[in-house]
Amino acid sequence: MHRNLLLTRSNIRKAKGQTVAIIVLVLLSSLMMNLWLMLSMDYRKNFERSHDKLNDGHINIATYAVSDDFTSFVSDMLENRSDITEYTVGEAFSAPISFEYNGGNLSQFGVIIEKENALSRKVGKMEITEDSDIKSGIYLPMIYGTGNNYKVGDTFKISIFDEEFEYTVCGFFNSAMIGSHNCSMVALLLTDDKMEELYDKYYPYSSAYISARVKFASECEEISAEIKGIIAEEYPDVMLTSNDYEMITTSRYVSQSICTGILSAMALLVLLICVVVITSNITNFIGENMQNLGALKAVGYTSGKIISSLLTQFVGITVIAAIVGITLSYGFFPPLNEMMIAQTGIPYSVRFQPLPLLLTLIFIAGIVLAAVYFSARKIKKIEPITAMRQGITTHNFKKNKFPFEKTSLSLNAALAMKSTFSNAKQNLTVCVTMLVVSLIAVFSATMFTNVITDVQPMVEMIVGEYSDSGINVELDSENRLISLLESDSRVEKFYLYTTNNMEVHHVGGSTLYVSVVDDCSKLNNQNRIIEGRYPKYDNEIAIAVKYAKDSGIKIGDEISVKADISEANYIVTGFSQETNYLGKDCVLTREGFEKIGTLPNATYYIDLVESVDVDGFNAGISEHIKSGLNTAENIKSLIDSASSVYIMLVKVIVAAIIMVSCIVIVFVMYLLVRTSLNRKKRDYGILKAIGFTTSKLVLQTAISFMPSVIISAAIGTAFSIPLINPLMALVLGGVGIVRGTFDAPVLLCLIAGGVLVIFTFGAVCLMSLRVKKIAPRELLTGE
């Protein structure tokens, strides 16, 4: 066998436990890194593949209340545009709908299309992913077939224009652009008989669904705004809802963004711990094997050969462990994929991906190689004779720390402190590990209180405004609604909050979705404004922070905004954030908006006193308003159902990262305790000989780790608390979050830090039980 391999094999044989621990750390890191890269590199591309496969539109517009010549007008207009390559203007029934989902009620803008029409569209085609023999009924987007929701044969209850319908679920379909409630409108396919029934009921109501492909996807937002402008000018009474490619690619992958953010952070942090552990091990190896290294040099081994044997050992172990980790990641991907599909609604088949594999392998092996090389370089400085005489001391104590005569500590504690202060490298490894794990503990505690136990903070950060009920009425019924609400004792407060995908255009900039509010001080989510304040007067505006930063707009600047009537200048009073519009939205007062545009209708958000049944309340309002009412939504239920996917995802993530943290602590501590016991085997033998019991020595060993564990956990917890929101902003930056607004639960974080310390203490105590194996008789020198 090659000499290098002989040395490597000998090193591994002597350090089996250390090898196992490093394997576990590399395995965890590579598993998470490969999952991260697969998710970030291919998962999003999957949307593009699905979009191309279905020849789906980059711009999609659903309209209702269209006139007879609408289709020909839109077709001609699209035909004459050089930036549109293909389009389909097809028949559809568009209306506000609501249905049960994830235990709540989901209200959406529905695009109901006859199944065969949907499957044969040239642009914006849909595909059946699950079919059945049922001839009459409804096909649902496949996202509603995931989890414990609908299955073939179930009865699907839907409210269209607040009228109840029941359909049998015939199957599920995929649509890239309108296949989920994250798309601002959602498609439903009816069999021809059910479609005819619907048309008969609502005749002469008609609508259209337009899908258009553009030459350059990056321009779709601007082109969409132009097309909608032209339609609105020609048909001012036509209501329309739209989305575009850029918006959907991001909004359908919010959970993927969260997951990749967390996986990447965890993979890199575990790798960092692994590097610190390897570095510390090599330094200890050199210290403990000084004589052997000297002897090897004396018999002709060069420094290079000894270093390369260490490189072969560690990089070899790393590559093998990384391959196992990558292989295991394919086992974890299917359940993760199921969770992702529940949010994205896009089918994805797990497949082998060579690029993430290569990147993971090269990155991890490269980092380990560099760490080994730089920490093993000191072997070059070892002179054989000096080393064989153990001339290079591994420890040099200038001061006797914690002298027993003077210290007030107990014997065990003082001995432990002496041990602590005699090993800086051990402390460094403990500190890095505990700092990382504290961050994870604080993150988990924050997620627990801000998502799992109470979803409201997450709703505030991601969804935006929330309330119990949202009632949309025609403007001529507005006063009637207000007087009803004012006289109803069940109403705690109400305010105008109209969004309905209304848009305004920032002159010289982009189209922004606008929220129109009569009194911003009544809004439940005051956290939406992360800097400055909401607008109070008609010449003020709050704009999305992401858009403001991208466009260089500052608070106090004056910007021009136009809508369907005219253009006006507004002073920017604050920056807002929510993910619904991906960082392209603004808030205007009603007076402010009405200077430039017309409110098509009015949505009032209503907070009810506790224990009032929202659906019952809405039904009562519907009774009174009758034809003037467009929709009455149970916002609370809507948010509950939409957020349940995220809650589940966060639960899984928190459970997974806590498990990974525990594994990391156990293996790092195992390595450190093992190294410490090996290094101090002689000392433990002496202490046992003079009467120290195993339990005293176990306690002493465990206590010796505690100062660095406690200090780093305390520092880690204290520093992680303010770090959580910037980290959330980093993870969710792509969907418009610039500043996290979670409240870090200080007490829970401190408890988490305490649990971490106790867990580590327990783990170290258990591992220190190896002290039992050290027998004083090993000090025997004779026969």
Partner: protein, 252 residues
Amino acid sequence: MKETLLKTEKLSKSFSNGGVMQHVLKNIDLQLYKGDFTVIMGASGAGKSTLLYALSGMDTPTLGTITFGDKMISELSQDSLAVFRRDHCGFIFQQIYLIDTMSVLDNILAAGLLVNNDKKALATKARELFSAVDIPEETIHKFPTQISGGEAQRAGIVRALINSPEILFADEPTGALNSKSGLDVLDTLTKFNEQGQSIVMVTHDMRSARRANRILYLKDGIIMGECDLGKYTPNDNKRHEKLADFLTEMGW
């Protein structure tokens, strides 16, 4: 009539070496007496250190019993043995075995604090012992690696005596020292024995053995003979000749 400190009956110790059993101690019946300076001698491989460590509760016998007073120490658990060693025994090792990461004084106090929590009294006692073994104050604050071998071994004696053990076990205490240092250590041990300290020492050095009043000769795991030398007096040639004759008789 001498008071018995330690007693063994049918004491045996075997080791498995590559699947082959090696019987190092064979059915040893022995009594050690209070105030004695007992030396165990024998050729290499005779089982001297094995016997010493079995007697001191550092190791457990394979068969037979060891009784200390009315306590059967051969049946104690490892932790109970540690407590027994702490409360009744002192140890001096050939390799000294001071802990390098603490000062000489702390090495002694680490042993002392196991029994006595009064740090002040303990430190005073340690200083008296250091003074008795000729270790100056400035040395006791140094680390073991910063003092000579002789000083370290005398510090080892102080550690062994700090808890006023009923019996002091010494395993070749002069084995790693030069002649002068070895003599100093022997003088120290003799001095403490004269003050009533019971000592059991393993050695194959005749010069060291002369300090004992009782010699046990071990061969192939069996006590082949014993010699009563009487009280040690320097330059007592008759005593030296008696020991030499005994050892010759034993085939040493």
